[in-house]
Amino acid sequence: MQEIPTSKLDWGVALRYAVMVAIPLLGMAVTVHVGKDLTAPPVLEGRWKIEREPALPPSVCEEQLAWLQSGEFVLMQQGQSLTAMPEGRPDLALEGKVTGSELRFFSPLPSSGLSIHGRLSKIDGVARLDARIEHAGEAPCSALSFRARHNPGPEGSGRRGSS
């Protein structure tokens, strides 16, 4: 049976330590340098106030209408992944993604064909969403355009709370 050598301070040990620890740290320094300008998605979580045209086209589906009539939706964010839900209607929750300034949401329920596709912009420091809500159900439903204004709330504007 081999034995584990006990500690003796010599140059070989010190050199091995320096080289073995320095190599990954150097790799990390290079990687951090490469990635330091990477950007992550903007902060979208919080409440979004819906602003829409008062006139509705004749063929609007019930789910579309319920979504817009709620007047406000809550957006939850985990990095790129988003969940949007009209106030008090978890049955109408949509899952989506943000890519650059583009947002896409789809219903996780196979029975629902609800989807939202929108583009983000910023006016006076406030995020705005110009979007269309569609329904790919059996009935012919017209796509509806709407706008939403971000209200991040006390937590959304800074860091996610504090310790």
């Binding site: 050598p5 500690s7 330590y17 990954p24 990095g79 790129q80 860091r159 504090s162």
Partner: protein, 426 residues
Amino acid sequence: MPDLQLLLIQVAFIVIVTKTAGLLVRAIGQPPVVGELAAGILLGPSVFGALAPQLSSTLFPPHSLAFLQTLSQVGLLLFMFMVGLEFQPRRIRRYGHVLFLASHFSMALVFFLCSAVSLFLYPKLSDNRVTYVEFSLFLGVALGVSAFPVLARIIRERGLGKSELGALSIGCAAVDDVTAWFLLASILSLVRSMHSSAPIWWTLAGLALFVIIVLLVIRPLLALILTDKRWKGPYSEIFISLVFVLLLCCAGVTEWLGIHLVFGAFLFGVAVPRKHGISEDLEAKLRPVTEVLLLPILYAVIGLRTSFGLLQNSEMWLYCALLFAVAVAGKAGGVATAARLSGVPLRESAGFGILMNTRGLMELVIAKIGLDVGIINAAVFSMLVLVALVTTGLTSPLLMMVYPRRQFAGEAAEKQGKISTIAANA
């Protein structure tokens, strides 16, 4: 004001569930902490909240969680103090060259791997309140840590306490602990400085001054007090009170510095003199209330904030698998490689790597700090909880494969004889 009746019911329910789970997993050869952590998750939205949403919201209404969170912080403070108390510099001396290399190489490797995968994960799992550097450094410290208390328990339960493998692992975990908490303190300083008007040198200078005061003023002062035998006798309660007041002060100072109270509690635990069995006395007094009452609350608070529902698609599970791979390759692979290159036999190197891959509560503590401070979101937190749970759960079965019980019992006895001979000759 807290609803006291509800709080008492919550605590009783949490203790019953976590301790029962601990006992159950013990029966299948796992350390109880695996069951207790899993019980915390069972109490959260992933299981209890999904199966019985009405009951879950009655038992854990959102407004009541703040009180549980406060109690869990007290538990965390006492737990970190005990981790500091368990730090024994003499454990490091014999195999110092292997321990420092294994600990620091594996940590550096985890940091490198985390910075590399963060190039891919950061744009997908974070948002623009956090920078790439903060995100990757934080993942590095969360995945690079080893769970000293769980490790000590696994080693004790498997009868490895007197083996060289046990000595190596306990020593390395001690080096890991000190390194990881200093790194975390530095990263939190960096994060705070990026988002506040106070420059980083202010926090770092404060940290350095605090460390100097604790180690060079408070520690010798406590040692001086302990030379008077009366402190062991009639005045022991006064001494214990003094220790607690100092513990709270240290935790308060590091919280004020913006580097979290756990660091102050840990450092003060390290600084308590190992004289007249005072650290054992303190541990014996604190352990029951911390382990039986307060840590289960921490597990529940962590579980209540863990939602596997956030890992809603295969993509998220892939990211989780990537973090798991980085954690295992960096820690277990790094430790085993460093040990082998330092002359440790192959089987011991593999066993050493497996043991050091135990993350347990330490990773969860760091992940919770990250979530509180806002470096990670709930999805990444849930991934880290899963990685902690799986790596801790894997330790015993993997160790059994590499180091069957029959084999290590024989080797431990043989090596104990050799160690005794070496010690006698030294």
